[in-house]
């Protein structure tokens, strides 16, 4: 056996990845891999997969890929959560070790924010925004695919840490000195910084892409103040990404310089300041909270009018409050580290600015309620999530105002009160919102509805499970249970509340299982959407067939007012979306490209090489990245010509051609 083999085995598979959980995960990964490869080979689907999906630049297909990845990551992050809750169910349960507990709460937070919430948001942006504003694609279709592959390979890099080399273990915020090389020499934190760096580049590109799409590619007549609210929140979210991700990129990059190349930014010696990392991280981190919650606000602003059959109450106030939240969210980041002790003036400033955000948010809550007021409400699954959101998010917001009060924060900082608070906003806001949007736009994405009865089961399990999990955690926090605690002894009075909380967590897990069953069942048996407008919708995406053809609109609609499709229906002009054969002209559509996939692969190889300090592998990855960029620069054939006859044929098959 050559000498390097034991070294390689020990580096890639140290004892920390040979524990029962990791071995179990290995078996699961290999088994899933074998099944996928076998099925694809048996059915001769490799070429189809490559041509139709992996090289696609169609926003609707990229949306589906984001969605699949997000649900897989929801599973991974959820299993992490259940492992934590199992360990805390009773006093002195040592189901997993303290070391493993550190890894699990780190990956739970990181995956849920960066690899579950973000891709789920981008899935809905991609699925809906071009259809909603009357565009044929996003502004930069090939870059859209680049974004996806940077996310996907970043997520892959992060997830393999579990079974190759060792997980990160310093919390989802990765504060130094917990991440300082001297105290944390393994590859885990390298994985964290590199995976987030890579997927962060992709996210920044997505932000630019949707910002420009909405600013420059709206249908004629769709002025800013005629846009659906979801387009507004997407616009503001994209702008937030533009301004928030650069500080994160710098925080991650400088941490990497510390760990890989011995710089002294955040080291305890040599004048480094760990708190400066915290400052830069939360310069990103607080706007990030609004990056994930603004899309949910947008979704509710579409769902509520549709299922109340009323126009949105206070459209202008809604727009103003979204923009206000966007700007204000930049001035609040210090509330994540009041206890650093920057001084009374700093803390008071940031405490007040944090409380200020409650005002525009309150405006939105009232406007949704007033939209429902006097409406003809249909209690569909999307609407149930909206109704569950209002009280849940209000509690999350109110406890946020409590925490913004500096003296209170000094007491409650890093307790379970804080844990309960941010899950109230992130699950009650973001996850409820995204699930609502998913059920709402599912027929548009796939051409069939998700079964309502199963959906309601999933909803109740998830919603009640949520409150059973996190309600007790407020009390635990007040009783002094701190965050990230591995285990606790009997006699602190925490055991009953912890047990309840764990039962709730399993309830949420059951909700997830029903949700997946709902998707799989509905694929076969769900009600097909033949009209393209199953909910009697208001906005332009419902004027298209489900799913929409590759070019979306055979003829771009002209918009004259808000809720354009509703207005057309009210005036009996729905035939306006049909086209006469002679109105159809040939189109230039974006052409599929393998470049984004290989660019992502290059970043993956670079990241893997840097993680283990194998410079030649990193060099290989860098060469791949530069090669893919050159390829992109010299590729002038990024569009394909689609003949008018082809479009006429598709429109005729969809029954949308005027005789």
């Amino acid at each position: 056996m050559p000498a390097f083999v034991p070294y390689l085995l020990h580096t890639l598979f140290p004892p920390t990845v040979l524990r029962p959980t990791e071995i179990g995960a290995d078996v699961l990964i290999v088994a899933t891999g074998v099944i996928i490869v076998t099925v694809l080979t048996r059915q001769k689907k490799w070429g189809w997969l490559w041509r139709e999906w992996l090289t696609t630049v169609d926003h609707k297909r990229i949306a589906v890929m984001y969605l699949i990845a997000a649900i897989a990551m929801l599973f991974r992050g959820g299993v992490d959560a259940l492992m934590m809750r199992t360990n805390l169910a009773l006093p002195s349960v040592h189901f997993i070790s303290a070391e493993e507990y550190n890894e699990v709460f780190t990956t739970h937070g990181t995956i849920m924010i960066f690899f579950m919430a973000m891709p789920l948001i981008f899935a809905l942006f991609n699925a809906v925004i071009p259809l909603m504003i009357g565009a044929r694609d996003v502004a930069f279709p090939r870059l859209n695919a680049v974004s996806f592959w940077l996310f996907a390979f970043g997520a892959l890099l992060f997830n393999i840490s579990f079974v190759v080399g060792g997980s990160p273990n310093a919390g989802w915020t990765a504060y130094p000195p917990l991440t300082e090389l001297a105290f944390n020499p393994g590859p885990g934190e390298n994985y964290y910084f590199l995976a987030l760096f890579i997927s962060g580049i992709g996210t920044t590109i997505t932000g630019i892409n949707f910002l420009v799409t909405i600013l420059r590619m709206r249908a004629p007549g769709m002025t800013l103040m005629r846009m659906p609210l979801f387009a507004w929140t997407t616009l503001c979210t994209s702008a937030l990404i533009l301004f928030a991700f650069p500080p994160l990129t710098v925080a991650l990059g400088t941490s990497l310089l510390d760990r890989l190349f011995h710089a002294s930014f955040y080291t305890l010696g040599h004048g480094g300041m760990p708190m400066m990392y915290v400052n830069l991280f939360w310069l990103f981190g607080h706007p990030e909270v609004y990056i994930v919650v603004l899309p949910a606000f947008g979704i509710f602003s579409e769902v509520v009018p549709t299922f109340s059959r009323k126009p949105l109450f206070g459209y202008t106030a809604m727009v103003v409050s979204v923009v206000a939240i966007m700007v204000l969210s930049y001035g609040t980041w210090v509330h994540h580290f009041f206890t650093m002790g920057a001084g009374p003036s700093v803390n008071v400033f940031f405490g007040l600015s944090t409380m200020l955000i409650a005002i525009p948010t309150g405006v939105k809550i009232f406007n949704w309620i007033f939209t429902m007021w006097g409406g003809r409400i249909r209690l569909t699954v999307p609407m149930l999530y909206q109704l569950a959101f209002i009280p849940t998010f209000v509690v999350g917001g109110a406890t946020g105002v409590l925490l913004a009060t500096v003296p209170v924060d000094y007491q409650l900082h890093n307790t379970y009160f804080l844990v309960a608070h941010f899950h109230n906003t992130l699950i009650g806001g973001t996850v409820f919102g995204l699930l609502s949007g998913l059920y709402y736009w599912w027929p548009k994405m796939f051409g069939y509805k998700l079964d309502e009865r199963q959906g309601k089961w999933a909803f109740w399990l998830f919603f009640l499970g949520f409150w059973v999990t996190f309600g007790p955690q407020y009390l635990l926090g007040l009783e002094g249970m701190t965050r990230r605690l591995w285990t606790y002894p009997l006699g602190l009075g925490w055991h009953a509340l912890n047990l309840i909380s764990t039962i709730g967590a399993y309830g949420m897990g059951a909700g997830f299982v029903v949700l997946v069953y709902n998707v799989v069942w509905s694929m076969q048996h769900g009600e097909r959407d033949l009209t393209g407008d199953p909910w009697d919708g208001r906005t332009l995406e419902w004027s298209l067939p489900s799913p929409a053809p590759e070019y979306n609109f055979a003829r771009i609609p002209v918009v004259t007012e808000r809720d354009a499709w509703w207005a057309m229906k009210a005036r009996g002009e729905t035939t306006a979306v049909r086209v006469r054969p002679d109105e159809i002209s040939a189109l230039e559509l974006p052409r599929n490209s393998a470049m984004p996939f290989f660019l992502g692969l290059g970043f993956f190889v670079l990241g893997f090489g840097l993680t283990f300090r194998w410079w030649w592998i990193a060099g290989l990855g860098l060469a791949g990245i530069l090669g893919a960029m050159l390829w992109a620069g010299f590729d002038y054939e990024d569009r394909k010509h689609v003949h008018a006859e082809e479009i006429r044929r598709i429109e005729a098959a969809l029954g949308r051609l005027e005789a």
Partner: protein
Amino acid sequence: MSVHRAPDAEEHLPYLEAHFESETRFPWIKVVGYAGSLVLTLVAFWAVSAHWMSPTALLAFILGLAVAQAALQLGVFMHLRESRGPSWQIAGLGLGLFIAVGLVGMSIWIMLFKSGVS
């Protein structure tokens, strides 16, 4: 070719109105801008070398010159107002600069630790 949509006729945003540069004669404005940029650089260099003012005043002075220099580059060289439809880059850059200044200024303020409790 496919034009995705008609120009944005309905939007009236006076501050973002597009304007294309159309110089047909030799671009003297660029020469003047270049000369101006050299003057600003040399004045800053001289002011610091000669210790023209107190250090604090001098720092404010050279920062002012740098801002003037940036404005000159944006105005003379960077075609800031060129766009089809509204010049969205002005709004984006304006908001970006506002946040950039806040980011640097507030970070300095926060990390000073002027505190009785730290």
